[in-house]
Assembly symmetry: C2
Homo-oligomer: 408 residues x 2
Amino acid sequence: METVPHPARRHVLAGSAAALVAAGFGRAAAQTAGAPVSSPAGSPAAKPLPAYVAWKDPSAMIVHSSNTVETRRSAFGTSVVTPSNQLYIRNNLPPPSDDIVADRDAWQVAIAGVKNPRTLTVGELKTMGLATVAMVLQCSGNGRGYFPDKPSGTPWQVGAAGCVVWSGVPVRVVAEALGGVAGGMKYMTSTGGEKLPEGIDPKSVMVERSVPLEAMEDALLAWEMNDDPIPLAHGGPLRVIVPGYNGVNNVKYVKQLAFTPEQSEANIQKTGYRLSPPGTKGNPSQPSIWSMAPKSWITSPAPENGSVKAGPLQITGLAFGGLHAVDRVEVSIDGGKTWNQARFVGPDLGRYAWRPFVLAVRLEPGTYTLASRATDATGTVQEEMRIENVSGYVNSSWRDHALQVTVA
Amino acid sequence: METVPHPARRHVLAGSAAALVAAGFGRAAAQTAGAPVSSPAGSPAAKPLPAYVAWKDPSAMIVHSSNTVETRRSAFGTSVVTPSNQLYIRNNLPPPSDDIVADRDAWQVAIAGVKNPRTLTVGELKTMGLATVAMVLQCSGNGRGYFPDKPSGTPWQVGAAGCVVWSGVPVRVVAEALGGVAGGMKYMTSTGGEKLPEGIDPKSVMVERSVPLEAMEDALLAWEMNDDPIPLAHGGPLRVIVPGYNGVNNVKYVKQLAFTPEQSEANIQKTGYRLSPPGTKGNPSQPSIWSMAPKSWITSPAPENGSVKAGPLQITGLAFGGLHAVDRVEVSIDGGKTWNQARFVGPDLGRYAWRPFVLAVRLEPGTYTLASRATDATGTVQEEMRIENVSGYVNSSWRDHALQVTVA
């Protein structure tokens, strides 16, 4: 029996010539031995998958804890959509009992802050409308592992992200059906259906996130992910999807969606997920972790696959714009001294999706620092330096994501 | 533990009104019970998955035999890409030993009919170029189950098809690197690497298919499928991908790709996969099963999910153009007497992909015949009647694919 395996994306390269010319076939010898596959430095690769996500591909994943599981850099391919069994896991609370997916259509969500508030079942939502969006889902802590001062939290590298296709009913269709958003509302506030631990203030642990009202425009109440009912681990039966926004805003097991004049009073909104300058505590005056910025990273060659053979090489990676479409991406092999425009490959799945890219080079033996830099449709360029913050959030620094590669 | 399950896409509907008005929310009652999920009539659902595809989702599949496994109509969602673990299986011969995927980059393919013929490894191909295409992969026998005279062969319904993303090197890039296609060549002929049974003429069983030379333009030598190395069951380590062409032309485990002046002499080309009129035997004068025609089908409501409740309903389905892009799709609820244009949902993955569609209706209690009809970018409309042929190939008849639905 074969499982669908994690790619041993070995780089079988031969020959040598000047770098950065389009890689034709040339004189490359018929060499077939690949570089040995080794574990990423420091990754806890040996931990088994938690039982509730035992259906994930273990060879593609790095297990940090029962609620935090990352996709390996080398497991990303060039097919745009991240398979569900390779998508990262990040839960703020343990998922509810799987009783809630026994009859998915019976799940209820209260819609508040509209003219005619009411509770709707998933079954009813399915009769009201349908839209599908491809979207980068990314944990706001993705890239935290590159902060040198090791902020508390999971030390994600690049794999707390995936490009996922969601289907559901547009939030605006639901709001319109209930008479429209009530006056004076400034936020869309979603409440998760996790079971809260007893004996402590619910506000201290509940998952309730507010996003600016304008985010409702492309938001979905989604029941399908990658052609399947949303798995429990990813927020099924019903998840609010806020394209262009960091993962935490896409509330799982959503049991209430409210249009509100103020942001939630829950800790996860009030003091958590804030861009807190070093030495400060989170507070509502600091920026909330909302929309995503342009970002990209190289997926191949990946350091976990060992050294690269000299000769022609296709450098591949992923680039996205976050709130806006990605417009272009550049690749450097000299740590950012010089840049070359890479080519997008494959279909464009829209504004909120990522795009695989490729740059053909020839590399002589030596050491190279590979980096990539995305630019969105508004001209915003991926930032060079991380924004220093207490919790290690939103690391889009191309410099932090650069790779040292040895070519032999 | 939860596996990523097959959708019990229950239709939870309530209320009643005239058919075919846009489904707003209206007075639909908060009804939550879904229709019971039953097995498709006559499907051999109880057969277990063959060991080499035990990683497929059993609840999404209908197992016909060890080499023929179909996706259930109700397992298709609206996320465009068919997950690998739900993609149909159709092998003309048993797959080779999984030894061949132990070192994928070592797999060799001979390129012939070029100025400088030579053998290349997958590792070498990966240095030569990269392209990604989303493509409907469809067995030429898909829909055979709707032929009333039951031709021999698997009685596929709609599920011997999927929309798959492939990555590899363009065939034209490989041909150019080897000096270009030699003069006088009219076909691209691909040979599969299956182990042939001994003691019989290889030509009688080998998988070797020729397609017109122009098909090379968008063809790939592919090593990746849906972001993973191509699983053995689907032709890994290397498969030739001929977008717009029926499945059989996408030769698995490809060990030779030759540009040839004539079509292959193998039976699978010479006499097999021909559009043979009733009462005739296959011969080279009959059309070969090459490019695909416009086709569509409804995925929800699916008869296997039982009766549908009266009220608002989102009728969904899949439509593709085959060789050309799909331009529009219409839906009928009265067996083709009247048609209504449906709306595509989600991203457009390009000319060779399918597009999910939706039409919002309201249905009163009664019996309905639901049908869909695709039109491609050249104006060719999906055919009403099947092309009668001995082997039950290329059934694109919208009438055959219509569904009787009871609304209660």
